[in-house]
Symmetry: C2
Subunit: 339 residues, 2 copies
């Protein structure tokens, strides 16, 4: 199934109500913020590349104050313009091409063109889920501009068509993205989980702001195609998802942190076993991991997770914040739940 067919499925009811005005902006502007999300149980591997349908479910937590603010403005230029943090991007960059292809899904024969102003307060393409919150805020801003009033479930499905993990970037707090089983992906959407955990802190440890050498999109496909170990990844996720729910229910931080760390390391393990190998570890990444393990050995409850990039995200509880900052002075700490 093509992305445009999935879009048609979502808009069918709305088209019956509103007809072709669905594809016409109802306002001059659209605005939305979406928080970045950090997967505790990773999304790694697709069952459908076209629709970004995942092999497994996944679970994330949002960083409420970090993410993407997207501001759309109708303009009468012949082409869309993408402005990232104040700088207009060249039309031939991959990022701009991706956004335009995404807008085309809703443009059909219509001739509207947009200025897309994106304010990101996280590094681009360094494994901090910039494309996830980017596409989540883009679809939300479109929803605003076109006055679609779509349900969160529909927005999640549409966000997924832009970037898989964008499906999870529409809420604060813990979010679960259901893998689903349908070929059209209508059961593959995310939902917020009712667990709150005000003591929880997450620190981003940037070991580099350089763009990663291989996109997560390519890395996961290459892994699925060439790693013999990947076959057991779905079993790992199935087990971890059960444990995550137990950990959230019981507010068992060691269980949550340990399962997140193990899940991330197992994802990177599948990459190392692909050929040619993919290794997002930099020397600084490994040094930080050993430091975390040493601190844990000394009794500090500290765990990490790592996405498709060299940076680590550290998980700890409020009462250990000073100790963690003592060990990692440059850590960018965020509270995950506002009290």
């Amino acid at each position: 199934m093509k992305k445009s067919d999935a879009v048609q499925l979502i808009f069918q009811p709305l088209l019956q109500q509103r007809g072709d005005s669905v594809w016409q902006p109802q306002r001059e502007q659209g605005l939305a913020f979406a928080p970045t999300n950090i997967a505790l149980c990773k999304y790694w591997g697709k069952r459908d590349e076209q629709l970004n349908l995942p092999m497994t479910s996944s679970l994330s937590v949002a960083i409420p104050e970090k993410g993407s603010m997207t501001h759309l403005t109708l303009h009468d230029q012949p082409d869309d313009i993408v402005v990232l943090n104040g700088d207009e991007l060249a039309a031939d960059t991959q990022f701009v091409q991706r956004i335009k292809a995404y807008l085309d899904l809703f443009r059909l024969e219509q001739s509207w063109r947009l200025r897309i102003d994106i304010q990101l307060n996280i590094p681009v393409a360094a494994g901090v889920a910039s494309s996830a919150c980017g596409f989540a805020s883009l679809i939300s801003a479109l929803n605003d501009m076109f006055a679609w009033q779509l349900s969160m479930r529909d927005l999640s499905i549409l966000a997924r068509l832009g970037s898989g993990s964008a499906a999870r970037s529409l809420w604060a707090g813990f979010v679960e993205w259901h893998a689903g089983v349908q070929a059209d992906g209508m059961d593959s959407y995310a939902e917020p989980l009712k667990f709150e955990w005000s003591e929880l802190n997450l620190g981003i440890l940037l070991v580099t702001e350089k763009e990663k050498s291989i996109s997560s999109r390519e890395a996961m496909q290459h892994t699925v195609d060439s790693s013999l170990l990947y076959a057991n990844w779905p079993r790992k996720v199935a087990r971890d998802m059960v444990i995550f729910r137990q950990a959230l229910q019981a507010k068992n931080f060691s269980l949550l942190g340990g399962t997140a760390e193990s899940n991330a390391l197992t994802m990177h393990a599948t990459m190392l076993s692909s050929w040619p190998p993919i290794c997002y570890f930099l020397p600084e990444t490994i040094a930080a991991m050993h430091q975390v393990w040493q601190l844990r050995k000394e009794g500090l409850e500290l765990y990490f997770t790592q996405d498709a990039g060299p940076n680590l995200k550290l998980l700890f509880v409020e009462k250990n914040k000073e100790k963690v900052l003592g060990a990692f002075p440059k850590l960018e700490v965020s509270k995950l739940f506002v009290e």
Copy 2:
């Protein structure tokens, strides 16, 4: 089955011929050298912990001039003495305990005691197979001292009882250790392969000489017990063993090197996915890996393998030696086949 029962099986024919004199030294001294071996297809995981029976077959190449020279001398002290590179080791060290337990397999009620002089020209317990060549040279020296005249197959089985990969350390060149299927391990022994490859070079890149934090013995058991990815390791080995034979047959260096690197990374991947995780990578290990990948991207045919320790072994052919040494000036290069 106990180790002593396996020893009995091996010595049955000899006992019928020679009776109890089998357990008595026939000479005052015994001497043997065994080369260290570097696995291209790793031994990782046991089907029998007692007898060091492996889950899978494995394949190694020896470094002919690096290894262990063991010199045994009968003495009239009340206890064995182990001297490593000239220094007498304390009786309570793990290494000495392991050697004495091994000697006990052949000592039965006899009261002989030995001075065991081991000259190792590789670092101890840093993932350069010191215990493999150590036990291989020890059993060979015992064979000499007791005039057993055992077959190489029997020596390989007996060496395995000391340390799994010691089974492979009795020959120069390429060696295959057959996993075997029998519970008594009598079909789990190594054999030399007839392939020669005089252009082949191996360089040891020592990033540290420190002893590793966890022994390979413990690491492999922990991995088998706790990594969900380990289940597919035997499939990986089965495939790689076929490819290694093709590569050796065709003298296809890229195929040999690439398969060795992928096999090693996959072994380390299983460790990363165990819990608590095992990570033999140091920052320097990862830096060297990235350097190898960069050089390969630039056209240099260079591959690495890594054992249960932070050091890398680089594989390349003679004509690229100068370039490789240019990139890694401290590399200890060995030719693997003497012309």
